[in-house]
């Protein structure tokens, strides 16, 4: 059972914009990086043939609050926490902690809600229960960590 994962990335030149900082949309790419690495840490790929039926994880909500910029070559820890676990959906919180510089600084905090879906024989997507094997490996973070 796991409720968190920490991924580390370095901000690349192509992640920046002419304001000299990481473009705000790229925080959402970084969230996904941590989400998929979390799945690998559970022994799964987000694009899996390991479950029957095969499932996908479309996003229904994404948000981010920005406190401070990230700059080129900054190292950032993306701390994923499972905030909510429903039978057919997961909500993650992401804390962006800048690792370089005088003090560890939370520069941004994001949230993603993803739904577990499968396709019927006609290709139409519908929400489905998270496969049991996978669901058994995921739990929610303790409330005191989410304060």
């Amino acid at each position: 059972m796991a409720f968190e994962f920490k991924a580390v990335r370095r901000v690349e030149f192509a992640d920046t914009d002419m304001a000299g900082i990481m473009h705000y949309a790229n925080f959402f790419r970084f969230m996904e990086t941590a989400e998929h690495a979390f799945f690998r840490s559970l022994g799964y790929s987000i694009v899996t043939i390991q479950t029957d039926p095969q499932v996908g994880w479309p996003r229904v909500h994404a948000s981010c609050d920005y406190n401070a910029p990230l700059r080129f070559e900054d190292e950032v820890e993306i701390h994923l926490l499972v905030q909510e676990k429903k039978t057919k959906a997961l909500t993650y919180q992401f804390r962006f902690n800048k690792l370089n510089g005088p003090a560890r600084l939370e520069v941004a905090r994001g949230r993603l809600t993803v739904v577990c879906v499968t396709k019927d024989p006609h290709g139409k997507m519908g929400a489905t229960h998270i496969p049991k094997d996978l669901a058994d490996r995921i739990n929610t973070a303790p409330p005191d960590m989410m304060a």
Copy 2:
């Protein structure tokens, strides 16, 4: 005085991901496209030397709720509405209306809060009043449009 703007974009191949749909982070790029076109419609560039002092518009909040996917070559109208106007910040709502297909469909709805900032002589950013000339051209959308 303007409180809305409509930009149209076509989903490009590079906007899609292996799920065959527009990657969720790209909705945030499309929001910005509409925001900057809105400024041009007011006679301003978002990267302006037209105001004294020069101002920038960092994001403090971004969010999006997804209802349906966008696919390659879909045409989407990004309808920007000014939801809130404060002395030093603006909040926009964005409605993504898919233009092709049997019926006009709102596939996603987003929100951005941006703060007007300027730099002091030491390069430090701080919130500042929206320049009067620009502020005079922007008003908030009527409440019944925001329902």
Copy 3:
């Protein structure tokens, strides 16, 4: 029969990097924009079910020579020319002409070679003849235009 197409794009904020100019990799996205619009001008989508068998167009070569930068809100014409047409491949040349500013300026010139492929029943890709209907609509640019 067509051997050229002109697409126009405006450089967006997210296309720039901290050097204040369009990131060099984005020229390749812009080439593809023109390529796909060229196909639409022929009555085809690059992702087509209009041909039997269905074909795809993976890239085997891409290159770009850069003469001058593009900046935020620059308008650029991407002039596609069919440089070479083989039975199973096409080579395009792309000229990036900056439309704003004192004089029309060619800021970059690119090249793409794409191969027409189809999948066998086992999913394996292989080069195939460009479908006749489509091939009949494409010819190579006159040599004096390619000088």
Copy 4:
């Protein structure tokens, strides 16, 4: 003195397109990743204040030949080799070696030519000699490695 560097990246979901493979423009982002990590390995940042005058490295040529696709979660080694060193320019070769799968496979090979520039007091860029301290740390790869 160094003439090569190996960086490793994992293909992310956002790097793929609807063809299910890494988008061809992203190979150019990966080249830059290796280039900048090479500079760090020399004790420099590509965005440096370590040299006097400060220099930048705009690209004048970029190219890539593609032999096989990269897919989501593939691990790829980007092997940078210094192909040519002039007084004011460097040319790198990049070999993309897929690390997972039955055998190490070179999926693509790229090339970048970058020019060392500085700005005059009016902000105009011009080519300049590679700063001596930095130039002394870079040599060209042995000819037999470049065959």
